[in-house]
């Protein structure tokens, strides 16, 4: 009997000890968490390992820019602290890590989280915690379009639909009798693009003679491209992800086919074009769009913005200065700093969100193309809506034409 009593006593003592260690968890102050008199804490989840690891450098470039700003004295006397966590492009990880940043690290806001699925998975959560989800690194149209029901989330880059509308304009202007063939990825990403193109063509949508889709897991697009060629298309749209775009460009050359090619912006970084050329793609008549200055374009060699970029990125030992993703990171970090500066003496979550979503009006960003305005109003929540047509000139992209503004076309 006494042994039993002793065992029970031990168990009880254990319980008491557990309870004693307990107590105040979870302080629930909802406003102005993560901000002190001399610091602001921002959080970020991004793929730095796994299938989309090449995007990971964006976070490091953003950190480099925040460090640069801190070196200049910070924002209104506050230094920006930036915590980057790797979610490996898995939304379940994003959810856990975002929770960690919000509940454990107590960030002021989430900034530039990457991946459509990943960021959608935390949109409701962040709203329920009243944490701004600013300038997500995804071009899905939903971020700007559905803002009214997701008031704590905002995108930054031009939406895929807007980009496709610009292609539509360019086709109608320069190739009014084109026979269009479209290759698109069979998911929201590809369909977003396809919808933009169809809407942009309007009553000329009949110019599309063939659309073929492929699955994300597809190894090749040979069959689809052969079909599009057989359908008589002379203008080819590639709404695909970089890996398959490179393959498609090679296949097109292999088919002895020389259509006018429109390439989506996701696939147009110079590095990918180089890979395609190396694999034997002819890269004739290739058109795309851009809104950022290209670090490899010699025309910006003496540009102050580009010089600033080179200075900033030099402090990041793992960032390659020629990688366009780094310029993207620095450019979006610039907008974040602009918003925080504008919030001035009232840096609450609500005020920062309000400024970002409704009152942005910035044409001073030195990293975007001249004339591109980062702008939001009370009924337009797409910060960037201007892009310029670019054509491939053998070794780099050449700006051709003027900025095309699609603001207000996506409702």
């Amino acid at each position: 009997m006494s042994r039993l009593v002793r065992r029970l006593a031990a168990a009880a003592a254990f319980l008491v000890a557990l309870a004693a260690c307990g107590g105040g968890t979870n302080t629930g102050s909802q406003t102005d968490v993560g901000i002190t008199a001399d610091s602001i804490l921002l959080g970020n989840t991004i793929a730095q390992s796994g299938p989309a690891a090449s995007y990971g450098t964006i976070g490091n470039a953003e950190l480099a820019y925040f460090n640069y700003v801190n070196g200049q004295g910070g924002v209104n006397g506050r230094k920006i602290k930036f915590k980057i966590l790797d979610d490996g492009y898995n939304p379940a990880q994003t959810k856990t890590l975002t929770k960690q940043l919000v509940e454990q690290d107590k960030v002021f806001a989430m900034f530039s989280g990457l991946g459509t699925q990943a960021q959608l998975s935390v949109r409701d959560y962040l709203k329920s915690k009243n944490v701004p989800q600013l300038f997500v690194a995804t071009g899905a149209t939903t971020w700007g379009k559905d803002f009214s029901s997701n008031t704590m989330s905002l995108g930054w880059q031009p939406p895929y639909q807007g980009e496709a509308r610009i292609y539509a304009k360019d086709v109608l202007q320069n190739h009014p009798n084109a026979k269009i063939g479209v290759l698109y990825q069979n998911d929201d990403y590809g369909q977003d693009y396809l919808k933009g193109l169809t809407d942009g063509l309007g009553d000329k949508a009949s110019l599309i003679v063939d659309k073929e889709s492929y699955d994300v897991t597809a190894a090749s697009t040979q069959a689809q491209l052969t079909k599009i060629k057989a359908a008589g298309a002379d203008t080819l749209f590639l709404f695909s992800t970089p890996g398959l775009t490179i393959k498609s460009l090679v296949i097109v050359t292999g088919l002895h086919w020389e259509p006018t090619i429109y390439l989506n912006s996701v696939s147009n970084p110079q590095a990918y074009m180089g890979l395609a050329a190396k694999a034997g793609a002819a890269l004739k008549n290739v058109t795309s769009v851009g809104y950022l200055k290209d670090p490899t374009d010699p025309q910006w060699a003496n540009d102050t913005g580009m010089k600033l970029y080179k200075t900033v990125i030099a402090s990041c030992s793992t960032c390659k200065p020629d990688d366009g993703f780094n310029l993207y990171g620095v450019a979006v970090a610039y907008t974040m700093v602009t918003v925080l500066k504008k919030a001035g003496s009232n840096p609450t979550r609500q005020n920062v969100m309000n400024i970002a979503a409704n009152q942005l009006d910035d044409n001073s960003n030195p990293f975007v193309l001249p004339g591109v305005k980062v702008q939001t109003t009370s009924d337009d929540h797409f910060p960037i809506m201007q892009e310029e047509v670019i054509t491939w000139a053998g070794t780099g992209w050449k700006l051709s034409g003027t900025l095309i503004d699609e603001r207000g076309t996506i409702k």
Binding site: L18, N26, N90, Q100, Q117, L120, T217
Partner: protein, 363 residues
């Protein structure tokens, strides 16, 4: 009753301590940590299922992530389209996944172990694409958001009196997961100790001999698949609840590998193994990812390389170490250490009394 309690072997008391520990745990850790531990417990359930298949019946599966996906989507769809209560959908998801696993087990019987591994691997590879197809039902690439339930008043009140803070939905989900884990571990324990467990072990160790002893090989092998999928379905359903979101990318191929690593590391064919393996498999990638960059003595260049390869490298290194030093997993290691200690203690006493201790029996 008292006598039975008094006569209980020490490992029963260990079980009681572990259970009490897990019940008390959320009262001393933050709500966020509770949500992480809930996911570790959910992993434990899935790994227990895999353990029954791999450890007990000797069939290899590289596709348990797919069964988890099925469970998660079953629950999410029932909640989202048919407005069912989430708790009700857990058993439905479990049973449905169990049936699918059972059916998958029928053709799998005809495959040799290597081809079975490939077939299940294929299942894991196609599942994410397959889910995207009926976009109206599954939400396609966008996935389905799952609303996390508020704790019921009773649980909330008890929790409040214990800790003085309000119970969050994360903490409530932790307790749901713990309940399911306890139930399913108890079931697995019963399974292994009785006829089916013995039959499965016999099949694993020698199919011909087992058949000669009158064991229905086909029946038991498919049963193992069904039970295993039942566990994975439960885990998947809970996983959807814990993460609040199901989407195709939530269930990548690497999830299946992660589960298998957890099962092997914990210790195959043991009951506590999956729990230890789950804690290992769940926390290692997260911790290794965050620990490396926080160490200022590691040079930047090396840290960033290590960080990118973090989970893979630490998995690899630890797996090799465990295979060398603890081929029976963590549980095997602990058991061996305990036995050696016991033998030495007992040996000392026996030597004084002039007895020679008998050889320890192998498990």
């Amino acid at each position: 009753m008292m006598n039975r309690l008094r006569g209980a072997p020490p490992r029963y008391w260990l079980v009681v301590i572990v259970v009490v520990f897990f019940i008390g745990f959320p009262t001393v850790i933050s709500s966020f940590l509770a949500s992480e531990w809930a996911q570790a417990l959910i992993f434990a359930i899935a790994i227990m299922g895999l353990n029954i298949l791999v450890g007990l019946s000797g069939q290899l599966s590289l596709g348990h992530g797919a069964f988890m996906a099925l469970g998660a989507y079953t629950s999410a769809i029932l909640v989202h389209h048919y407005k069912m209560d989430y708790l009700l959908t857990i058993p439905i998801a479990a049973v449905l996944t169990g049936i699918v696993g059972f059916l998958f087990g029928v053709p799998a019987l005809r495959l040799s172990p290597l081809y079975l591994a490939l077939a299940t691997f294929a299942l894991a590879v196609v599942t994410p694409s397959l889910i995207k197809r009926p976009a109206g039902l599954t939400g396609g690439v966008q996935g389905i958001l799952v609303l996390q339930p508020d704790p019921p008043p009773i649980a909330s009140d008890i929790f409040a009196t214990l800790t003085g803070t309000v119970m969050t939905s994360d903490q409530w989900i932790y307790y749901i997961s713990l309940f399911c884990a306890l139930l399913l571990f108890w079931l697995a324990w019963n399974l292994t100790r009785h006829r089916p467990g013995r039959a499965l072990r016999a099949i694993r160790d020698g199919e011909v001999a087992a058949a000669a002893s009158g064991i229905n090989i086909a029946g038991y092998k498919t049963l193992a698949f069904g039970v295993s999928a039942f566990y994975a379905g439960t885990a998947g359903s809970l996983f959807g609840l814990a993460t609040g979101y199901v989407s195709p990318d939530t269930f990548p191929v690497s999830l299946s590998i992660q589960l298998l690593v957890g099962a092997v590391v914990g210790g195959l064919a043991s009951i506590p193994g999956p729990l230890l393996g789950a804690i290992f498999a769940y926390f290692l990638p997260i911790e290794s990812n965050q620990w490396v960059p926080s160490q200022s003595w590691i040079p930047d260049q090396i840290a960033s390389t290590l960080k990118n390869a973090g989970p893979a490298v630490s998995y690899g290194v630890l797996l090799i170490l465990i295979m060398i030093f603890a081929p029976n997993g963590l549980v095997g290691l602990i058991r061996r250490g305990y036995e050696q200690l016991n033998r030495r203690l007992r040996g000392a006493g026996d030597r004084e009394a002039g007895h020679v201790p008998p050889d320890p029996q192998t498990v």
